[in-house]
Amino acid sequence: MNAGTLFNGYESEGFFDEMIGEDGQPRAAARLLAQEVASLRNGELQLRQQAAERALVQAGITFNVYSDNQGVEKVLPFDLIPRIVSSGEWSRLERGLRQRIQALNMFIADVYHRQKVIKDGIVPREIIESSKGFRLECMGLNPPRDVWCHIVGTDLVRHRDGQVYVLEDNLRCPSGVSYVLENRRLMKSLFPEVFSAAKIRPVSDYPLKLRDVLEFLAPDGTSSPRVVVLTPGRYNSAYFEHSFLAQQMGVELVEGSDLVVHEEFVWMRTTNGFERVDVIYRRLDDDFLDPKVFRADSMLGVPGLMDVYRAGNVALANAPGTGVADDKVVYAYVPRLIKYYLGEEAIIPNVPTYICAEPADLDYVLEHASELVIKAANESGGYGMLVGPHATAEQVAEFRGHVRANPRNYIAQPTLSLSRVPTVCGDHLEGRHVDLRPYILSGREIFVLPGGLTRVALRKGSLVVNSSQGGGTKDTWVLADSAHVETEKPGRQTHTDLPPIPGVPRSNSHA
């Protein structure tokens, strides 16, 4: 018994640490977990970490990097030590996210109808119309129940000062929620002791909530609507998630070629003829949805789908055109949009952002390029980005050229010091930088899943959390206060059809 060795020499190194406070002691919300981790026998933590990795391979929770016919399959690395969010902090984040989604939904509706936001001079017309996500084809569209962005993942980061900022909004097809559910399942088998003692809010009802939202969108008069998930196919890197969500919701997973438009309805091809489809949760970008309206070379979509959608005979989630609000430049205007539509200050602030399209900001950015993070609009996965302080003089000069050539396409932000969470590194723990993506569903009401995907930059010192660039994930525990009676308990909420994690004893778990 060598209690506490895991934390020996653990240093916050001046960063905000989500688990350990400035006094070097675990924060109140993390105390139970810290005790549990510190009391583990030598080597036990690595054993559990290995068990987690084995379980992921066995469950085939992998994404594909196709280079030859058998492909290279990678497991998204998973780290054992969760990020813990106190109930007080969460309730503020939850309010902030609701507010943001409400304003964004109003903004999208406005963009495609009266465009008051432009006429009132809040966002310049060129910014909106040059946004890659803006779809002229969507002008005048009336999505069912007036909801545009049904499923949103908003990326949050915490800076050295302890303040949480919105880093970006994902309003098209945000992915990752399957990892939230699977990570939780893993954690419950790996740390049953903590789950029985701590009040951790459950995430497992997400698929049901999602199904409710989707059914809510069904055309009038469909008493028990047929909902499907539309995937680009099994070569898509998020295919696991598409199939996982369909399975967990108990709905059909379809590819574009399974669907056909005929006489103003969408049908799917079954062994028993054709059956009508009412709601499509599409995990396909606007561009590929309907070759008759968007990209003509799309083989993944359904010709004629948009006609059926316009006629109100099928619902799409998210609505086409929502990408206009997920542009990195439009992002910079969101606090003003919240003020404009709701008359409120943003509860969760944006990262201070320079808009290169505005001359004063452009001058500042060009001058201070080596201190800033400069991002191209409409790029994701950590590409099209310059991290000034980590870049060479040539890289900075090159990027300056890009910005000068096309200022509209760039924003810049100060370099943030993302907060850190202890992370398993061999036989001990070290701090690694994280962000957090909560998931928000909008249907009859706005629901914020109490949890989210904590992405972690596994490389020492790295700030890039994307899975394509050495990132991994962690479970996110939102603690309940006394008002929330519903919490995770091992054995109670477990899915009985899922196997135990090999190599993990469950003996001491049952209180």
Partner: protein, 336 residues
């Protein structure tokens, strides 16, 4: 059920069954080698011939020997019917219907594939092969056990069952055919201890040895043909497999047994009646090998009938009538 999904489930199941049977082929040959009387040379040609891929083999490897044949049938990714290729396809099929099958089934299949893939990396042609093939059979049994105990007996299950049974019927008929290609040195050896050993090996590779003993006792070619082809209770016998496949087909369509509404139902009906109302004498009069050839051809026809009826992507033409049947509208008419 989506046509694409039915197609994937059917082939997932056929591919696992195929991998299982290829392992049986090799296993039986390896065991025969151990009993080889003095003066006999190893025979690896029959194996390649009965799997039907001898042209591909010859083109790539020339004359068969143990190491080449084992590699070709087990790990060769260029051979679409090698164990590894079958499991790779099965797993890709499963991946595309992961929301239809149970998590347990997926995990068994995934683990099964990963094991065989790992074995491919360490293959050295040594005697460890003797332990490997029983492992492959076990992997297939685990998958089937998981299927039997976790999958609802719905349409998906019937497509799975149909695929598995058609594949198994085909492979049992080929196992029986292997004996045809095994050479004895002279007619005098018919009925010799080595001849008997070969027959026992044939039975063993269909896991039929013990069940055969209970039913027929002495090893005799007629009894063995009868058991592997015409038995209606032994789960690897061709007739038993085809009966089960036909029953699943009728469960899918709702057509009463004894009648037909589509081509595969008609062909199945003929095939099953033939097996039910023939006997070994009649088969031997035609010649066993010739009878099996015709049988395999008919089974192939059933297979393409199933493809035509259920898996092709049709497009709607007219809507002769639409029924608003409580839950969803059904459009009845379709054409290829």
């Amino acid at each position: 059920m989506l046509s694409r999904v039915a197609d994937s489930i059917y082939w997932m199941s056929r591919n696992v069954e195929r991998a299982d049977n290829v392992a049986r082929f090799i296993d039986v040959n390896l065991n025969l080698l151990l009993d080889l009387p003095e003066g006999y040379v190893q025979q690896w040609d029959p194996l390649v011939i009965t799997t039907g891929d001898h042209e591909l083999f010859e083109k790539r490897f020339g004359k068969p020997d143990q190491e080449k044949v084992i590699w070709f049938l087990t790990f060769d990714q260029e051979n679409p019917n090698s164990i590894l290729s079958c499991l790779h396809s099965a797993r890709e099929n499963a991946r595309s219907v992961r929301e239809i099958i149970s998590t347990t089934m997926w995990e068994e299949l995934n683990t099964f594939y990963l094991k065989v893939k790992a074995a491919a990396g360490t293959f050295d042609g040594s005697d460890r092969a003797y332990q490997f093939y029983p492992e492959v059979k076990r992997g297939s049994h685990l998958f089937q056990g998981a299927t039997d105990s976790t999958l609802t007996r719905n349409e998906a299950w019937h497509f799975l069952e149909m695929g598995r049974m058609i594949e198994r019927a085909d492979k049992t008929s080929r196992i029986l055919d292997v004996k045809y290609y095994f050479l004895l040195r002279s007619v005098a050896e018919v009925g010799s201890p080595f001849d008997e050993l070969q027959w026992a090996a044939v039975l063993r590779s269909a896991s039929a040895f013990e069940m055969y003993r209970k039913r027929h006792g002495r090893l005799a070619p007629a009894g063995i043909t009868n058991f592997l082809l015409l038995d209606d209770q032994f789960p690897r016998a061709v007739r038993c497999c085809l009966d089960r496949a036909r029953n699943s087909l009728h469960a899918i369509t709702g057509t009463p047994l004894g009648s037909f509404q589509n081509n595969p139902e008609r062909l199945f009906g003929q095939l099953c009646s033939d097996l039910a109302f023939t006997n070994v004498d009649e088969i031997n009069a035609q010649g066993l090998h010739e009878y099996l050839d015709v049988l395999q051809e008919k089974m192939n026809l059933v297979g393409s009938g199933i493809y035509e009826t259920f898996f092709t992507r049709k497009t709607p033409t007219t809507t002769r009538h639409r029924v608003r049947g409580g839950k969803e509208w059904q459009m009845q008419s379709a054409s290829s």
